[in-house]
């Protein structure tokens, strides 16, 4: 396979998918733990156990989000520009919620006042739950398309409102992502804690796995029969300089299943979501959270892949002017930039994964209440 | 190439930091070697004690914290020296130094050999009652270990507290305060010595 422009455009679709999956798996469990924090941790010490289970590594996990943002900027500048300026308040809401995390982790246990600590606990809850919901909502809106168009200078205009983003289908997608990440976080917690906390995690896993599977199935049916998908009816050469104004697109119900009709093996991916989630519940029941965590990671990855494959090659469909939709063929960077970024990713990502694994290995083991008591001035 | 100058600059700056502090360490260890410790007890001697007292007064002044000064005299010293000779006298001094070291806090309190038969102790942060507890323990230990030898009165201890006994007229200059404090402690020590048997007196 030679690295021509067309191939690179496709490769970058895979890379951004990979970064998103990395983000969902790695930062996903941090957000899940944040959401569970006030409920699974009943006393101050139990909450500190939860915090310290993720505290030393959550910061690195968040970088998947930042890097995905940067990669989006570099690989698909038009998507970066259009999506973030269009979904202005949604993104700001995510950011404001995320602000609470770095400070929450670092500052919470630096003062003994219970009101101070409880305030930060709820801050960390918001920092976990709000982005988890909103990322789902964003995906829900991508599947429906958002109202935007370009002028002749390729300046984008968003014509919807913030409240329009919170439509029923998007909210359902929000439930999918929240329940998925909470389940994922609970599995991680069960792996890193013991006794009462681990028992509570088991319960949480069962509950949220159920919600997750039901909402995922419902969203799938809705996508197939309820909302309009998009398909390209004509487009120029795929390796041409990207210009999103030179194609035609039509909307039709069920269009998001075209790829699945074309390649039957794709059905394996959503099937894996169900299989893995049921396995997770089973494995956590019999006390094997380590393997269950691999299972839930696969489930998380497959959810993103399911959505990605059904939309391919669309990235950001426009509901108001469908022909202005952004696809992987006409919103990417130049050939040179994609090449530079390709090699940079190929070089740095394995290094990142290597030292991240080392850090996790060094910091492995269960966190206990006793350990928090012994290190109460240094632990989070 | 500015990137190259950055690498150089960082290396230079870090080297400056490291060398500067290693230089300080070298100086300090030289100072420590040159400082005169009492050869017998390895405690600091009177001159350094006076410097330490001055520094403690200044520290406590800026931080508005109290401290206590103790003078511990080994009452049996003279009689042991006369009756049993130099060696036994030295032994009893060593024993007393040992007790004092054990009853005070390492790195925090200052212990000095003030003169042949007297030790001085600075207890930063301690009010007179806290100092009295420590003094009582020293007294008891000394009586237990050295008491059987000849006389009943083993050690006498005088205690004074800063700033209560340090400021002659309101806020004074440091040197005057050192003097006043030592005078106050010394007079309590004298009173203790006039009493019988391992006494301690607070100012």
């Amino acid at each position: 396979m030679s690295l021509d422009y067309e191939t690179l455009k496709l490769v970058w679709w895979l890379f951004i998918g990979l970064l998103l999956i990395g983000f969902a798996i790695m930062d996903g469990f941090d957000m899940g733990v944040g959401t569970l924090l006030p409920f699974v941790g009943r006393t101050d010490e139990e909450r500190r156990v939860l915090l310290n289970a993720i505290g030393p590594t959550w910061e690195g996990n968040q970088v998947w989000f930042v890097t995905a943002g940067g990669a989006l900027f570099a690989a698909w500048p038009l998507v970066y520009a259009t999506a973030f300026s269009g979904l202005y308040f949604a993104l700001l809401l995510v950011l404001f919620a995320l602000f609470l995390r770095p400070v929450g982790f670092d500052y919470r246990s630096k003062l003994p006042d219970p009101r101070w600590r409880s305030a930060w606990d709820w801050g960390l809850f918001i920092g976990g739950a709000v982005p988890a919901v909103l990322f789902g909502v964003a995906f829900g809106n991508l599947l429906q398309g958002v109202p935007f168009h370009f002028d002749a200078d390729l300046r984008s205009y968003y014509t919807g409102s913030f409240w329009g983003l919170l439509n029923p289908f998007a909210l359902l997608a929000g439930i999918v992502s929240l329940s998925m990440l909470v389940m994922h976080g609970a599995v991680y917690l069960q792996m890193r804690t013991e006794a009462a906390i681990a028992e509570r995690c088991k319960k949480a896993i069962a509950i949220f796995a159920g919600i997750f599977l039901i909402s995922f199935a419902a969203a799938g049916l809705w996508t197939a029969f309820g909302i309009d998908g998009y398909s390209i009816t004509s487009i120029g050469a795929l390796d041409a300089d990207p210009n999103p104004l030179r194609k035609t697109v039509e909307q039709s119900t069920g269009a998001w299943l075209h790829n699945y009709a074309l390649f039957a093996w794709l059905w394996l991916i959503p099937t894996l979501v169900f299989v893995m989630t049921l396995l997770v519940v089973l494995l956590s029941r019999i006390g094997r959270p380590g393997i269950a965590f691999i299972g839930s990671s696969v489930a998380v990855a497959c959810v993103i892949l399911t959505a990605g494959f059904s939309m391919y090659p669309f990235l950001l469909p426009s509901s108001s002017v469908p022909s202005n939709s952004l696809t992987i063929w006409d919103s990417s960077s130049s050939f040179t930039t994609l090449k530079i970024m390709f090699w940079a990713t190929l070089f740095f990502l394995p290094i990142v994964i290597a030292y991240t694994s080392w850090v996790y290995r060094v910091l492995r083991g269960k966190i206990t209440v006793q350990e928090i008591r012994d290190n109460q001035h240094t632990a989070y | 190439m500015w990137y190259f100058s950055w690498v150089l600059g960082v290396l230079l700056a870090c080297a400056f930091g490291i060398i500067n502090v290693l230089w300080l360490e070298a100086q300090e260890s030289l100072d420590q070697h040159s400082s005169v410790l009492d050869p017998l007890t390895k405690l600091i001697s009177r001159v350094e004690f006076l410097e330490a007292l001055e520094a403690t007064i200044e520290q406590c002044k800026t931080n508005r914290a109290p401290f206590s000064l103790l003078l511990v005299s080994l009452d049996a010293f003279k009689s042991i020296l006369d009756q049993e000779g130099n060696e036994s006298a030295n032994e009893s001094v060593l024993a007393a130094a040992d007790i004092i070291k054990r009853e005070t806090r390492r790195e925090i309190d200052t212990v000095a050999r003030y003169d042949a038969e007297t030790f001085a102790i600075i207890l930063p942060g301690a009010h007179a009652p806290a100092a009295e507890t420590i003094a009582r323990r020293i007294c008891d230990q000394a009586t237990a270990r050295l008491g059987s030898k000849a006389c009943e009165s083993v050690v006498s201890i005088g205690i004074a507290e800063y700033p209560k006994h340090g400021c002659p007229e309101g806020v004074g200059r440091v040197l005057e305060e050192v003097e006043a404090l030592l005078r106050a402690t010394d007079s309590t020590l004298k009173r203790a010595q006039r009493q019988d048997g391992g006494a301690l007196v607070c100012a």
Partner: protein, 520 residues
């Protein structure tokens, strides 16, 4: 077209979020190396006190780092939210260093910082030392990538305009990375960060020394800071001197504006120490000038002139006219008339396209601009002189005061007389805010001085903003100011609390407050 109000609000929001971010970044940059130094000495000498120093200053580092990360999150996404057209227009170039920053640097520092705090008992001394050095390296690599991106905004090299995609595209990535403007900015900025870290440690140590608490600890911290700071302050001044005089005409225009050089003088030019620049009349009142000096420090020659702002005005007016031609040709090309001749002509004129776009502020069609509009657009190319003139002078003054404090501290450290110079300790304590003032002023000089461009000579700021409404921007701006200020107050509260407490906050039982507490 977007309104001027929206552009101004977007600029204000960017400036505020960036200035807040830049309160925390310089300290992170400098303190990370100081921690590495302290830990190196710990590993070299094996003395516990150096471990305590690393842990205590590390605690303050953590408090600061948390807010640096928080405020940095915004910046990664704000180009998209508020500067959508900018993101589209230059994302092909500008996005690359940002993405690599995430991959190569931010991952490194964020992953290792957990190990720095929680790895003391889990890895060997040497491994931990390596973690600390890599942390410092990661922090500095982050700054490198960001300043490469920023340097490209000041001096956009290695990129070409593509009319097919309506944007700038990378032609040579090596040129972008080795852009002299970016290099010099990087070196100057991180060196400023090192000064900040050193002054932070120096001031707080001076406070303990003045209070006569934990002297052994404070003297050692003071000494490290004095050594590191002296080298940093020297390089920041030497390299800062360079940073204005690198390639690029916009940089030259900026120098003329900073120095309030309205006219082109007979070289070597005189240096205006102080005066009151008047933008309207294009003159500086009550100027105190030293002959020859500017000519010698700026172009470093006696016969090369510094072009005055009035001459730039004339030049730029001509470029705007050429830009109109370029824009007309671009319209032709976009409408499908891309014959060889039009392409060739466009190629000849395209470097003036940005100047043509300046007219978009006055007329969306550009080519129908009136003479009056051209004059107004040309006037826009001259940045506002007075703020630049003053912020630059404040920054330089701060720099020299810091140099003096570091040099004096270095001297008293090497003679072992720190405690005998209480005036110096007091001076060091009062100098605590100086590096932050200098950093913020430096940011203003660099970025306000770039106006009216977001990408020098390529894309006017006016065109870069997203098409949002003013109401939305008021809301988000209020949100940012409120939230950031709240977080800043909390940070300062914790920082002060822990700085006051000093190394006693380690609960090791070895330091002042615990000793005193233990006795009482």
């Amino acid at each position: 077209m977007i309104s001027e109000e929206v552009v101004d609000l977007s600029r204000l929001q960017f400036a505020i979020t960036a200035l807040y971010h830049f309160l925390f970044v310089p300290l992170t940059l400098g303190l990370s190396f100081i921690l590495a130094i302290m830990e190196s000495v710990y590993v070299m000498t094996g003395k516990q006190i150096y471990k305590d120093m690393t842990r205590f200053w590390g605690k303050l580092f953590g408090i600061n780092f948390a807010l640096g990360v928080t405020t940095g999150l915004t910046l990664e996404f704000q180009f998209g939210t508020n500067w959508a057209y900018y993101s589209h227009y230059v994302g092909d170039v500008f996005g690359v260093p940002l993405a690599i920053e995430g991959l190569a640097a931010f991952f490194l520092e964020s992953t290792l910082i957990g190990l720095f705090f929680f790895g003391w008992d889990r890895i060997s001394r040497v491994q931990h030392l390596a973690v600390t050095w890599l942390l410092a390296l990661g922090v500095n690599l982050s700054a490198l990538m960001i300043l490469i991106a920023n340097g490209w905004m000041q001096n956009p090299v290695g990129a070409e305009f593509n009319f097919e995609t309506m944007r700038m595209e990378v032609s040579s990535f090596a040129d972008v990375v080795f852009n002299p403007a970016g290099q010099v900015k990087f070196v100057h900025t991180v060196a400023g960060g090192y000064c900040t870290g050193a002054m932070f440690v120096l001031s707080i140590s001076a406070y303990y020394l003045l209070k006569r608490r934990d002297q052994a600890f404070a003297v050692r911290s003071f000494t490290v800071a004095a050594g590191f700071g002296l080298a940093a302050a020297l390089s920041v001044i030497v390299l800062g001197d360079e940073s204005g005089y690198t390639d690029g005409k916009v940089q030259k225009l900026k120098v003329a504006a900073i120095e309030a050089e309205w006219e082109t003088e007979e070289p070597p030019a005189a240096f205006t120490v102080i005066g009151f620049p008047d933008q309207e009349k294009m003159e500086t009142r009550y100027a105190l000038r030293i002959p020859w000096v500017l000519g010698l420090i700026a172009p470093r020659s006696v016969d090369e002139p510094i072009i005055g702002l009035k001459d730039f005005l004339v030049q730029n007016e001509q470029r705007i006219r050429n830009g109109m031609i370029a824009y007309a040709l671009l319209q032709k090309l976009r409408n499908g008339e891309d014959d060889a001749e039009t392409r060739a002509r466009f190629k000849a004129y395209q470097k003036n396209l940005g100047y043509g776009l300046l007219l978009k502020k006055y007329t969306p069609n550009v080519i129908d601009a009136t003479e009056e509009q051209i004059t107004m657009a040309a006037r826009d190319t001259i940045p506002n002189v007075a703020p630049l003139f003053w912020t630059f002078r404040v920054m330089v003054a701060c720099g020299f005061i810091m140099l003096f404090v570091f040099a004096a501290s270095f001297y008293v450290c090497s003679t072992g007389t720190v405690m005998k110079h209480r005036w110096l300790l007091r001076l060091a304590l009062y100098c605590l805010p100086l590096p932050w003032i200098a950093s913020e002023m430096g940011w203003i000089v660099a970025e306000y001085g770039r106006q009216p461009w977001s990408i020098a000579e390529i894309l006017p700021t006016f065109m870069s903003a997203s098409s949002r409404s003013a109401g939305e921007l008021y809301l988000s701006l209020a949100g940012f100011i409120g939230f950031y200020t709240l977080l800043l107050v909390i940070e300062l509260f914790l920082m002060l609390k822990y700085a006051r407490l000093g190394p006693s906050s380690l609960h090791s039982g070895r330091y002042y407050h615990e000793k005193i507490g233990g006795a009482a």
